[in-house]
Symmetry: C2
Subunit: 356 residues, 2 copies
DNA sequence: CAGACTATTGCATACGTATGCATAATTGGA
DNA sequence: TCCAATTATGCATACGTATGCAATAGTCTG
């Protein structure tokens, strides 16, 4: 038996009338730092509570030209790394009194329709996780004064801010670890070939393997997708000259590869095959997998992301900033251990060759 | 060298001037179904493109009293079930031209601060996943004409809409399955004890076990949390009279329980111990786990959720609607198979006792 | 070609809030 | 106690869009 349409909601003018003050006084009551007498403030708050008043953020945004909304674009959530990122982002943004508008389900392609939506809602900032941005669009953002941060991606032109880890170094480290483990034939299951993370990780891997005299790497494409990684693993592991060590470009795929290796092909890990992954995400820590993996310091990455956004929003200066963080190779049971270089740190085993 | 503040953005009046028409004409051009001549429309679109105009959704919301934003509150994303839900929700809402404002990181407690935020942004609807709502708040929503849907939860008073599966029946089915599998001692690792899902699942389990003459169930609390589930498993499985069958209230915990059972306590699954979970979420399907699990038809649940929201937004009638969907017991390798009742369906093995 | 419509258009206003400015109230000091 | 300095307050307006209403242009019928 409702009126059939959304109720208008209590306005500041109604509260003002009730409290016997002006609408301005109500506004100032809810504006931190505004000039308002404690007595009036109390009257207003009382009236507001009686009427169930809440400031209309939409109307406020219209006049302040700030929505206090950050748009987050994530290609997919299947890989637990991203939900983790999302949760942490939500936490930190909430702390800064920002809301999170989520856009998902759009694969790596530059996503124009999504972009239109963002811009229409006049978001105060944009986080692009596992997605890139065409140069026109990023220029448009800059022109509009909207900060953009690429999370776990970079573009060649350094025009847009980014937060990443040392992927190249990570690839190197993994190669050194596997070489030190005595492996002879090396495989790589790649992520999205167009992504900077994939290029860098593979680049470092290849470089360090070459330095150790291994120039032939068996490569299959997994595109950061579980199903494709399974296919890639089947193909790679049924070769007569199958590798005895595989670097899988992220843990999400590494899990799939381990399942195929063990349960479909009957291989023992790490006896027959060593697997190293990337991200150090949840399932990597589950004892069924225990994946040796390059960690990405998720919390610090998110912190950096939010810091960049807040800085640029506050200053209005949109100049690309690049934060590159360090990861560690967390050693577990999915790969043979080298004779030396594995140290204990904060209760984790870390590979730190050549130091102590 | 930027101006130090967010640019105002192109307005409809600017476009109007450029196109030589009134602001109304611009508005009508971007309002589907409005009365506008094709010729003028073309002029406006041309001018809009030249200036890079995008309608300001904030200003539009102010006047239409519709934000086209749906708030989604999720307690935690650690359980992959919820990211999956989120992704599907995002997809369907986008199809209906709605955006998704995400609130996360607030555990099951009725979350008033979050609620304030929602209301301030005048969201057109609210989805509460794995979270409940105090009666005052739900009444406030109803009064404001804002539809609310509880996803995978219900309240005792049926005042607020909900989408669930037959949890009670699911618990029964699991009990029947385990009894048919020849088990003698039964355990239960519970979810959040305050949640309706937990109550219902356990209720059905207990009831059906009692009907089969088993009245003593060993219970530990897992609170839908991985770490707590691990502790619970350790405790339960180190008892001298440890169960030979455990129903774990969801797959997220079941994974942890299996890890503990196998790798910490050296038990073989399902030889020494049968495990059944709930949700049929990603990791349950990974061959390392292969969890026998009651499925929740995620896509249909999300469809129902969006349908309820759209209905109520369109009609303005906020009357509680309850959609209860069916799941299936998907049989994998984590529990002993009964002699009969397991059938093949759509490439999955399903437990359907007493029928064919 | 006139008359009766219908399809377009512009004008003016409203949405709910924030804020510069001028005025009123208060405070503090001597 | 009185004046100056400070703090509170209200008025009026602006933010960018949608929309009822009246006016105009366009179309069709006979």
């Amino acid at each position: 038996m409702d009126s059939g349409v959304k109720k208008p909601g209590v306005t500041s003018s109604e509260v003002a009338r009730r409290a016997g003050v002006s609408q301005s006084a109500v506004s100032r009551t809810f504006t931190p730092g505004a000039s308002i007498a404690p007595k009036t403030r109390a009257k207003v708050l009382a009236a507001a509570k009686e009427l169930g008043y809440r400031p209309n953020a939409i109307a406020r945004s219209l006049i302040t030209n700030r929505s206090r909304i950050i748009a987050v674009v994530m290609a997919y959530l299947e890989n637990l790394f991203y939900p983790d990122v999302l949760e942490e982002l939500g936490r930190l943004l909430a702390k800064e009194d920002y809301r999170l508008l989520l856009f998902t389900g759009f694969m790596d392609r530059d996503s124009d329709p999504v972009f239109d939506q963002l811009m229409q809602y006049r978001v105060d900032g944009i986080v692009l996780a596992s997605t890139s941005l065409s140069s026109e669009l990023s220029e448009e953002c800059a022109a509009a004064g909207i900060p953009v941060v690429l999370f776990n991606r970079t573009t060649e032109r350094d025009a847009v801010s980014s937060v990443t880890t040392r992927n190249h170094e990570g690839g190197r480290r993994i190669a050194e670890f596997l070489v030190a483990g005595g492996h002879k034939r090396f495989g790589y299951i790649s992520g999205l070939e167009s992504s900077s993370t994939n290029r860098d990780r593979f680049g470092g891997y290849q470089e360090a393997l070459a330095a150790a005299g291994h120039t032939d790497i068996i490569i299959e494409v997994g595109n950061y997708d579980r199903a494709e990684a399974e296919t890639a693993a089947r193909k790679m592991l049924s070769r007569p000259d199958r590798p005895d060590a595989i670097f899988v470009a992220n843990d999400h795929m590494a899990v799939a590869v381990m399942d195929i290796a063990r349960h479909e092909l009957g291989l023992s890990i790490p006896e027959d095959l060593s697997i190293v992954g990337y991200d150090d995400v949840g399932p990597a820590r589950w004892t069924s997998y225990g994946i040796t993996s390059m960690s990405q310091p998720l919390k610090r990455m998110v912190e950096a992301t939010v810091a960049i956004l807040m800085d640029q929003i506050a200053s209005g200066e949109i100049e690309a900033e690049h934060r590159i963080l360090n990861g560690e190779l967390v050693v577990r049971t999915s790969a043979k251990m080298p004779k030396a270089g594995v140290v204990e740190l904060d209760g984790r085993r870390i590979y730190r060759p050549g130091r102590g």
